[in-house]
């Protein structure tokens, strides 16, 4: 799924089991108990960074728990109040189903990654995202880092000329606003890459 050329970025990995001290995280009551731990951790470092939430070791985490802990932080990220990128790993089937339930209801999307040798080996999106944006995200992941102009050129060369350059710009900007892609100025144009990739 990913290009080999860029070097994987160092991620700040958070073990949720250690953070919360429990493997069963159920309901709003548990969420209210643990929310300050999540907030302190996220606001403890004000640099723009990628946080990898590792849920391995969590047996049960329910929708209300996610809605009380992670979702408010994701809302702050998408509204631009918080300069972070969130990635999620290690969710078992139940936890993932519950997380997806909340993301869909709240109209949010999250990056779900698989790790190999402590590095991101693959990424999937979970939650609510227009398929057009999801395809654009996949294109960026495939190329590692890319600008709207380059995506436009690629799409033209593959006969997808109906997608204009402005449309690519809008899609990439939208994905950046959702904090699914990092945006960097390179020369006169913006280059977009996944938050776990470095130049």
């Amino acid at each position: 799924m990913m290009s080999d050329s860029p070097q994987p970025a160092m991620l700040r990995r958070v073990n949720v089991r250690q953070l919360t001290g429990s493997d069963t995280l159920v309901g709003k009551t548990d969420g209210q108990r643990d929310a300050p731990k999540f907030v302190n951790l996220v606001f403890g470092d004000d640099r723009e960074e990628s946080l990898l939430w590792d849920w391995s070791g969590i047996e049960v985490a329910t929708a209300s728990y996610f809605a009380t802990t992670i979702i408010p932080l994701m809302r702050m990220i998408t509204s631009g109040e918080l300069a972070k990128y969130f990635l999620f790993a290690g969710l078992n089937k139940n936890c993932l189903d519950e997380f997806a339930l909340v993301l869909n209801a709240e109209g949010l999307v999250a990056m779900l990654v698989k790790l190999k040798n402590e590095k991101v080996a693959s990424v999937d999106l979970v939650g609510k995202l227009d398929p057009v944006y999801a395809n654009t995200f996949r294109e960026v992941i495939r190329h590692g880092a890319i600008s709207a102009a380059e995506l436009f050129k690629h799409s033209q060369s593959r006969g997808k000329s109906q997608i204009g350059k402005t449309a690519w710009v809008n899609r990439l900007t939208g994905l950046n606003r959702l904090r699914l892609l990092r945006k960097e100025k390179v020369g006169r144009e913006f280059v977009f890459r996944a938050p776990f990739m470095e130049v």
Partner: protein
């Protein structure tokens, strides 16, 4: 109500409530010697509390059954007592309002018991999460000092769990959120509350969604009751059905879920 020694379903307890509501006192519950399902017993316990809440205690002549589950409820002295009791395959636990964490032991025990009764690791986790969410609703939404009641009963490849409270009910709770002030009946409120993200708070409202997701692939029935409204999600046949009915008004919210790994035997 029947007086012979046989199994009484929650449906019969519902019919009994109508008879009491339409005939007024004397309020006797002649179900001595019968066997009650866990859901029926908890419904009856809530009904008793409702009668005590709405009638003069001295005029009530309540005679309740003597079966195992009922004895367990009596031993717990709910809603005035405390603690957890286990007898054979039935576990009953009082949910005190002062601490949501006290339910964690019951949930851990449910998860372990489910695995021992043929439920996979994933299903055990899923159902434990669902029970936990409904228990948490008692702490978050019942808005009463009276404790809730949680019970589960396991047999091979089958579990029944029930959560009941004596609080304000779904309608009164949801109407505290301006977004849902238009709701006028408990039935409207219950139908609205089963959608994800519906709550008296701006955030939350996933308890029923978690429950529905967890039981979706299992055979059985899920029943939600609040006020005069009852919703039943019947998963006894290939064709899943959602039914609604009306009962006399009631206190709080009662949720029960029967979950089986196998389809019912054809007679």
């Amino acid at each position: 109500m029947p007086t012979s020694d046989r199994y009484v379903s929650i449906r019969e307890v519902e019919q009994y409530q109508w008879r009491v509501a339409t005939n007024d006192i004397p309020l006797t519950v002649p179900v001595k010697g019968t066997q009650l399902s866990l859901a029926a017993a908890i419904e009856l316990a809530c009904f008793e509390q409702f009668l005590l809440h709405t009638h003069d205690e001295n005029k009530l002549r309540i005679r309740f059954p003597t079966c195992g589950v009922w004895k367990l409820i009596r031993s717990l002295r709910w809603p005035n007592g405390n603690g957890t009791l286990k007898e054979n395959s039935t576990v009953l636990s009082v949910l005190p309002q002062d601490s949501g964490r006290r339910s964690s032991d019951s949930l851990r025990s449910l998860q372990t018991d489910l695995r021992q009764h043929g439920f996979s690791h994933t299903l055990a986790g899923s159902l434990t999460g669902a029970a936990g969410e409904i228990i948490d609703n008692v702490f978050q939404h019942s808005q009463t000092e009276l404790p809730g009641l949680f019970g589960y009963q396991l047999s091979r490849r089958k579990v029944t769990f029930c959560v009941a409270d004596l609080g304000v009910g779904v309608l009164k709770s949801l109407r505290q959120n301006p977004q849902y002030r238009h709701l006028m009946t408990s039935m409207d409120a219950l139908q609205t509350a089963i959608a994800p993200g519906v709550s008296r708070f701006d955030a939350g409202g996933y308890g029923f969604s978690t429950l529905m997701r967890s039981v979706a692939e299992l055979w059985g029935k899920t029943r939600l009751r609040s006020g005069e409204a009852v919703l039943v999600f019947d998963r006894e046949t290939e064709e899943r059905r959602k039914m609604h009915s009306y009962l006399p008004p009631f206190l709080g919210v009662q949720v029960s879920a029967i979950c089986r790994l196998d389809p019912p035997k054809k007679s």
